[in-house]
């Protein structure tokens, strides 16, 4: 039979409605050929059947997943270039003993200069992005700085023939400390001794400026030396030298998945403020480990954390207070029982039972030590690992510990317990009525105190258990929905990536319905709406997100105030402005470029624009002054508007076609002036959290990563570019999405290779043109129109700034305010032309808009200028409406399946 005949008959029949019509046609078309008729009939039948595998996605969602997540599991390893028996340097690989996100660990044999077994850690082939290389280098450097009997020693480091770095370290054949303590039945005293050693090792590292950042039992191995257990801290895989800016938000979140279990992660680590990790984060992890040593279980449930989505995980770690170890021990059996069945929890139960048999209770002092180490607020933790060790030793020798604010009775109770015999003897010997009664009264008070305390604790425990049950149910429900929502968002992101806008929209909308109280889902949909230029929808979603308490200081809020202004959501605009301004009321240093830009979008009597303008002027010249401190107020006596402050020619850009680093960061050279440092001084005093905030803000401003890391390893960014579309950069999610997800790995890698602490400054890296534009805007709002125009003119002359014509509308406003109507009209004409250009470049392609907030600001300014000067609003551009209609069509069209 001819296939083409079959096909054409089938297709024609398909167009006919009804079985009879089709049958009729089949008979006439196939004539005598019964087999042809049957085969077409079968085709038609097959066509109408619904269970066609081709209609399903090729693999179900989530089908790709790793078989073996456990780094040390026995499952077959990924293909790799390193085979057992190969040599790397002078080391022969013998056995693979571990595998992490990017590293492989082998047991290897060294021939020269000594023969010994070593551990060799080498990065996986194919994962050698600049980011990873830099991390590896940091690790190697970090380890080399340490020398401590409880830290695995590093012998050697190098680079393989295929440019993968490796290092060679002491091979520690031990078991994780928790496992060791379980198995060997150590006494409490012995456990604590061992643990105090670990604290000592961590303290040593901290003194060398090294933070481990991934302390967990599998990184603290115990071996027996003769019969004495010795703990060794291994794997400084995520260590970083203090003061080096290894992480930015994006890199950090990307690495989250590699860091592994969040069980031992401190709240500040979980919070993604990656820049902010210090030694106290390790103290927290030590606290978690001690908790586990004492109770046989971790403070948070392993299973729960592992299955929670990223945000839920963060919330748990940051907000939930785990029960004290002693309380955990008494409730552990009940809590564990229902989860019997999986191997891990079974072993936990067995261990817990054993633990509770062994020690009827955990002394409350240990509770305090653990809880102090695990304080959510790191200020309240131990200041050092040595401090924690000292407290443990104090406990062991029954001295008063520091962990609890010492009350007199507490100290006395301690003293009495330590010298019980002495006191008793003294009481017997002196036999004075007075002392006798004092002593017995004292004993009685201690006894009563203890009893009351226990009763209170019991009541508390019952109460909190009931509350916990209710709360847990709620949390479970919420987490369930959150998980679904996260899955939806994940799929929708993929849809977006594949430009299936309708499907993406549907996904986000379903997520919104599922967890309407969760601001993140609104933000997700809002961003899609932004891409589609559906400003009203975007603003509405953002408004919801804000009302749900979305934190407003992240880079993803860049441009939102302008959006609110454009869509005339004045309440939302006021809310966002007052929220961001609040922290700056008594801390003018907190005023950043992005904050200023947020505030100047419309005039507002509530806002002290003079203050913002002064700050902008100070920031404008700040790059030349690093760490300067002066006693003066936010603005020096002369103010920033003296004649010497005129914008000199020095800050004009060179003739180069590309913005060079120099062109950007070089502030106008100017003679040092006496009042200048004073006016800048306070701006740089607080470099801690602000630096981070500002840097994350940068990510949203189209500043590619290696802008910040010019000494780093990353090459030039291959996407985005200086003014590139990068508005998502700072919005972090697991597996973080770079500029539109198109960036090649490593293009942001430069961040890692930043130099030492000296590189850190509280200055945002913004193109000078944009700094001037924002400063001018602030001066305009502050009423300094001439000064504003100066800034705008300089900004507008900048050829490299593609949106330089943004300034015309603002100049028009300023000229109008000065009463220069002709000039104002002239500038307005230019602004009209600029709008026209922008509109003519508008494309329905959702990925076409380079910097959406520049676009919205342009609309906004043009509207204000037109209204001010001509007295009427500009007409809504037809091209804008057309594009929005196209966008809606895009949503509709793609939402319905092709068949």
């Amino acid at each position: 039979m001819s296939q083409s005949a079959e096909k054409s008959i089938f297709l024609t029949a398909l167009e006919l409605e009804g079985v009879e019509a089709r049958e009729h046609y089949l008979h006439s078309a196939c004539g005598e050929d019964a087999s042809l008729r049957d085969s077409v009939r079968a085709l038609l039948l097959a066509h109408d059947q619904t269970l066609n595998p081709l209609d399903e996605p090729v693999v179900k969602e989530g089908a790709f997943k790793l078989e073996s997540l456990d780094a040390t599991s026995e499952a077959s390893p990924a293909e790799s270039a390193d085979e057992i028996g190969d040599t790397i340097g002078s080391y022969r690989l013998m056995e693979r003993i571990g595998e992490g996100g990017f590293g492989l660990v082998y047991a290897a044999f060294q021939e020269q200069p000594v023969r010994r077994k070593v551990a060799l850690k080498v990065i996986k082939p194919g994962t050698g992005s600049a980011e990873v290389l830099a991390r590896f280098a940091a690790e190697r450097q970090a380890i080399a700085m340490m020398d401590h009997p409880n830290i695995a020693q590093v012998f050697d480091a190098g680079v393989t023939a295929d440019a993968r770095p490796y290092f060679v370290m002491e091979l520690v054949r031990g078991v994780p400390i928790t496992e060791f303590c379980q198995r060997s039945g150590l006494s409490l005293q012995q456990k604590l001794d061992l643990f105090a050693d670990v604290c000592g090792a961590v303290h040593h590292a901290h003194q060398k400026g090294v933070i481990h950042r991934d302390l967990k039992p599998s990184n603290v191995l115990v071996t027996l030396h003769d019969t004495k257990p010795v703990a060794k801290v291994i794997d400084f895989g995520v260590a970083k030298a203090m003061g080096q800016n290894l992480t930015d938000q994006t890199v950090y979140t990307r690495l989250y998945s590699m860091i592994g279990t969040p069980l031992y992660m401190s709240p500040e680590q979980a919070s993604m403020s990656g820049l902010d990790i210090d030694t106290r984060s390790d103290i927290y992890s030590l606290g978690v480990m001690l908790y586990e040593l004492l109770t046989g279980t971790t403070p948070f449930d392993r299973k729960r954390l592992d299955t929670a989505g990223y945000d839920e995980m963060r919330r748990i770690i940051q907000e939930e207070d785990p029960p004290k170890p002693s309380v955990r021990l008494t409730t552990i059996d009940k809590r564990r029982m229902p989860t019997l069945g999986d191997h891990e929890s079974k072993s936990h139960v067995v261990e817990a039972e054993r633990a509770s048999r062994r020690q009827h209770s955990i002394p409350s002092d240990l509770d305090w030590i653990v809880m102090k180490a695990m304080e959510k607020d790191r200020v309240r933790r131990y200041e050092s690992a040595a401090g924690m060790a000292a407290d443990l030793r104090r406990f062991m020798s029954q001295e008063p510990i520091e962990a609890r604010p010492p009350s007199p009775t507490y100290r006395l109770a301690k003293f009495a317990r330590r010298h019980r015999l002495v006191i008793a003897t003294a009481v017997l010997m002196t036999l004075t009525l007075l002392i006798g009664s004092v002593a017995s009264l004292y004993q009685a008070s201690v006894a009563i105190n203890e009893r009351n305390k226990k009763e209170d604790a019991l009541q508390d425990a019952i109460k909190s258990k009931n509350e916990a049950t209710v709360a847990r149910l709620e949390v479970e429900q919420f987490t369930g929905r959150l998980k679904d929502a996260n899955a939806l968002i994940g799929a929708a992101r993929n849809d977006e990536e594949a430009e299936r806008w309708g499907a993406a929209f549907d996904g986000y909308s379903q997520a919104v319905e599922l967890v309407p109280n969760y601001y993140l889902v609104w933000v997700q949909r809002a961003k899609l709406m932004i891409d589609l230029k559906l400003w009203d929808d975007a603003a509405s979603d953002y408004s919801n997100a804000i009302q749900l308490g979305a934190p407003l200081d992240g880079p993803q809020w860049q441009g939102i105030p302008a959006l609110f202004a454009w869509t005339q959501r004045w309440d939302d605009l006021a809310a966002i402005r007052s929220t961001v301004l609040k922290p700056t009321l008594d801390d003018p240093d907190a005023i950043t470029w992005s904050l200023i830009r947020s505030c100047v979008v419309t005039a507002d009597e509530q806002i002290d624009f003079g203050r913002l303008a002064n700050r902008a002027e100070a920031l404008l010249i700040a790059p030349n002054v690093r760490g300067g401190r002066g006693p003066g107020g936010p603005s020096g006596p002369g103010g920033p508007s003296g004649p010497g402050d005129r914008l000199g020619p020095g800050d004009r850009l060179g003739p180069g076609g590309i913005y060079s680093q120099d062109a950007f960061d070089r502030a106008p050279p100017r003679p040092p002036r006496s009042e200048q440092p004073e006016s800048i001084g306070p701006g740089l005093t607080d470099q801690g959290p602000k630096t981070e905030r500002e840097r994350s803000a940068n990510a949203g401003l189209g500043i590619p990563g290696n802008e910040l890391g010019r000494d780093g390893l990353g090459g030039r960014p291959e996407s985005g570019g200086r003014f590139g579309r990068n508005d998502r950069g700072g919005f972090s999610t697991p597996g973080g999405r770079g500029p539109g997800g198109r960036g090649r790995p490593g293009s942001r890698g430069g961040l890692i290779g930043r130099g030492g602490p000296g590189e850190r400054s509280g200055i945002e890296f913004l193109p000078m043109a944009i700094k001037r534009y924002v400063t001018g805007w602030a001066q305009l709002r502050a009423g300094n129109f001439e000064r504003a125009i100066e800034h705008f003119q300089l900004a507008g002359q900048d050829r490299q700034w593609p949106d330089a014509d943004l300034v015309h509308g603002l100049v028009a406003i300023a000229q109008h305010k000065l009463g220069h109507e002709e000039l104002a009209l002239e500038s307005l004409g230019r602004a009209d032309q600029a709008i026209d250009r922008a509109m003519s470049q508008l494309e329905p392609d959702p990925k076409s808009l380079r910097l959406w907030f520049d676009f919205v600001e342009r609309l906004l300014v043009h509207r204000e200028a037109t209204q001010l000067i001509t007295g009427s609003l500009p007409r809504v551009d037809a091209r804008m409406i057309a594009v929005q209609q196209d966008s809606r069509a895009l949503l509709e069209a793609a939402a319905s399946p092709p068949f």
């Binding site: 085709l43 066509h47 969602e61 997943k65 078989e67 073996s68 990017f102 989505g309």
Partner: protein, 193 residues
Amino acid sequence: MTSNVTQILSAIEAGDRQAANQLLPLVYDELRRLASQKMTQEKAGLTLQPTALVHEAFLRLVGEQDQRKWDGRGHFFAAAAEAMRRILIDSARRRNAEKRGGGMLRCELKDDDVALEAVDCETLLSLDEALTKLAQEDADLAKLVELRYFTGLTIEETAEILGVSSRTTKRNWAYARAWLKRAIDSRSDESEN
């Protein structure tokens, strides 16, 4: 790597038949590597979809600059679709073997094996078989199905890549879809009887 693939694509464009053979293994390796890497990195519940994978592979292999002006992407997607098919089918075969082998003969599963359900495996394998048959009848139709099914391209995208109108693509798809279903069903009828 980037330039390598770009060169091959240019060669194919220029009519070099041999070049197409060099493309597949490169794409196949890249997809596997990407999948494996993704899975390691994104264990926290992120899902991975073939479509996204293929797109990423394209960006990585062909490169950012070239992608807009590049009109040889059809060859790339064809190769990617075939590579994806092989990866999935290999996975399904290993799954099946593992199931049959029980605990005795533990089949070697790869890190980047796709966690297919048993149902999926059966379906995939029978679909693969039917698709092979279809390719003997009409190679272009089989290619269309590969593109649509294994890389998740839409009708419009597929049409663009194959250089035919979307109406034709739609019709061809309808025919191929019914054809394959008929082939799968008749085969399972045989095995039941």
